[in-house]
């Protein structure tokens, strides 16, 4: 059986599932950025909290995603909601860690220079630390997003939909073309997202720092 036959015969179904997939991962990663970056910044100011915070995020990362999905069912039910909660938790670690590492890695001499110019703490954050830490932070965001697209396939096990639906049903029915119809778009989405985030990073980097 032609390995692309499912993809070619059911383009709308694959597209619908791909959109559903991107919604899940998009919301989860966006929330992880909105919450994770501030937390990352926060722990650079209150360094005593850094180790416990990073430890907590790491622990969540090590719990197998399928287990976490299953454990939350009595509280959050099945479907998109609990899936997004779990995916959000999985997206946090790379983002928090890289925000922290990026900012801590900014040379103290540069920060001193900023203070010398009379910058407030917020100005130093906005104009010195974040731009210089940007490439490390974005690396964290990109890793997080790409991995998240993969973890989202498992959300199909709790009825959240997405491309995982095709993969698992394809495994059950022994239809390789169905498995590929789920796996290939997921891989392509990951590449596309990584590319787009790379562009965004370029756009956010001040001209002076362009390599």
């Amino acid at each position: 059986m032609d390995i692309f036959s499912y993809l070619l015969n059911n383009p709308d179904r694959v597209l619908d599932l791909a959109i559903e997939h991107m919604k899940l991962t998009g919301i989860a990663v966006s929330l992880a950025i909105v919450i994770g970056v501030p937390i990352g910044i926060f722990i650079t100011r209150y360094k005593k909290l850094a180790a416990p915070m990073l430890g907590l995020a790491s622990i969540v990362q090590t719990i197998p995603s399928l287990a976490l999905f299953g454990l939350l069912i009595p509280f959050l039910g099945i479907g998109a909601k609990p899936a997004i909660v779990v995916l959000f938790l999985y997206a946090l670690l790379p983002i928090i860690k890289n925000t922290y590492t990026g900012i801590v890695g900014v040379s103290p001499a540069t920060i001193d220079a900023g203070r010398g110019m009379g910058m407030t703490d917020m100005q130093i954050l906005r104009m010195v630390e974040l731009p210089l830490a940007l490439s490390v932070i974005m690396a964290g965001v990109r890793v997080s997003a790409v991995i998240n697209i993969g973890v989202t396939t498992i959300a199909a096990y709790i009825g959240a939909g997405g491309l995982g639906q095709l993969i698992f049903t394809g495994i059950q029915l022994h239809r390789n073309h169905m498995i590929l119809a789920g796996a290939i778009p997921a891989a392509l989405l990951a590449l596309l997202v990584d590319f787009l985030l790379g562009r965004i990073e370029l756009w956010l980097t001040p001209k002076g720092l362009h390599k």
């Binding site: 909105v34 501030p38 100011r45 069912i73 039910g77 909601k81 009825g159």
Partner: protein, 304 residues
């Protein structure tokens, strides 16, 4: 706290609020506001369940004119939790599974008694109603290659028990853990397999047919048993309970759509193990899609 932090905390709080509202807002959508306009049909992780979900879906859409949303690939306990949480409205469950895996009760072998127990407990404890069984008994079965079984002279599980310490069992994840699965089976018949290998139900039949495992925890109505020249060993000491398949529906849905009960009961006692195995074979052996097989079956028999 320095002023800048109130701004950053503000952003974090907004994010958290969005999360909370996302998780909270889904709850109201389903049950509360009058007649739900979509009925959610659930299904487990194998072909027969995919087929059942499609059949339920078509029956509801064509006979009641109500939209359905199918959610398959849910494990037995995930599916049950989902029904208890009002996230899934209807599915096909097996009486023995309800008795032993969900309710955690001890083995009962009389089919009617099992049905009465699960019907009563599900209704009282969970507000879920068991409708009339559809006529097939999809019991767990010890399945082997015909030629191997004949060579070793095995036709029943008691005979299997004597040589089991030389044999490898290919078991589904559920079977490996459930009381009505490998642990209970080995205790009841008094043996231990040489090794129990966990595998996905989809891969089991191929695995035993190719000799990668010696025996598997198969399903009695599986189309691949006749297709791959496999045999089912007789459960001569009656370990497995009956697993009669029947639709189970949440009471709220029956109250909103009382006609649903009659629609689904149309198929009461309609199937036999053989007819179900034949339908499953269409999907697993002939490679047809579950929704196509479901539609053809229902149209040919005048249900839609």
């Amino acid at each position: 706290m320095p002023k800048k932090w109130t701004k950053i905390l503000g952003v974090v709080l907004v994010g958290l609020l969005v999360m909370v509202s996302l998780t909270a807002c889904g709850g109201g959508g389903g049950a509360g506001d009058g007649k739900p306009d979509t009925i959610v049909v659930g299904g487990k992780t194998y072909s027969e369940q995919f087929l059942m979900a499609e059949i339920l879906s078509l029956l509801i859409e064509e006979n009641l004119g109500v939209k359905t949303d199918t959610k398959v690939n849910l494990g037995t306990s995930v599916l049950f939790e989902a029904m208890a949480a009002d996230e899934v409205d209807v599915c096909i469950e097996y009486t023995g599974t309800g008795l032993m895996a969900i309710l955690g009760k001890d083995l009962v072998t009389d089919p009617d008694e099992v049905y009465n127990i699960v019907a009563k407990e599900y209704e009282e404890q969970y507000g879920i109603k068991w409708l009339k069984p559809w006529g097939f008994n999809n019991t767990y079965a010890m399945v082997m290659r015909r030629d191997v079984a004949e060579e070793m002279n095995l036709s029943s599980i008691s005979e299997l028990a004597k040589v089991a310490d030389q044999l490898v069992l290919g078991s589904s994840h559920e079977f490996a853990e459930r009381a009505d699965g490998a642990p209970g089976l080995q205790e009841h018949y008094g043996f231990r397999f040489k090794e129990v290998v966990n595998m996905d139900p989809a891969l089991m039949y191929q695995a035993v047919a190719q000799g990668e495992v010696d025996v598997i925890s198969g399903f009695a109505t599986e189309g691949r048993i006749p297709a791959f020249d496999l045999v089912v060993l007789e459960d001569d000491q009656q370990f497995f309970p009956p697993y009669h398949a029947a639709p189970i529906v949440r009471k709220e849905i029956l109250e909103a759509y009382p006609e649903l009960e009659d629609v689904l009961n149309q198929l009461a006692d309609f199937f036999t193990d053989e007819s179900m195995a034949a339908l499953n074979a269409e999907i697993d052996v002939n490679g047809r899609e579950p929704d196509e097989v479901a539609r053809e079956f229902l149209t040919e028999n005048g249900f839609i």
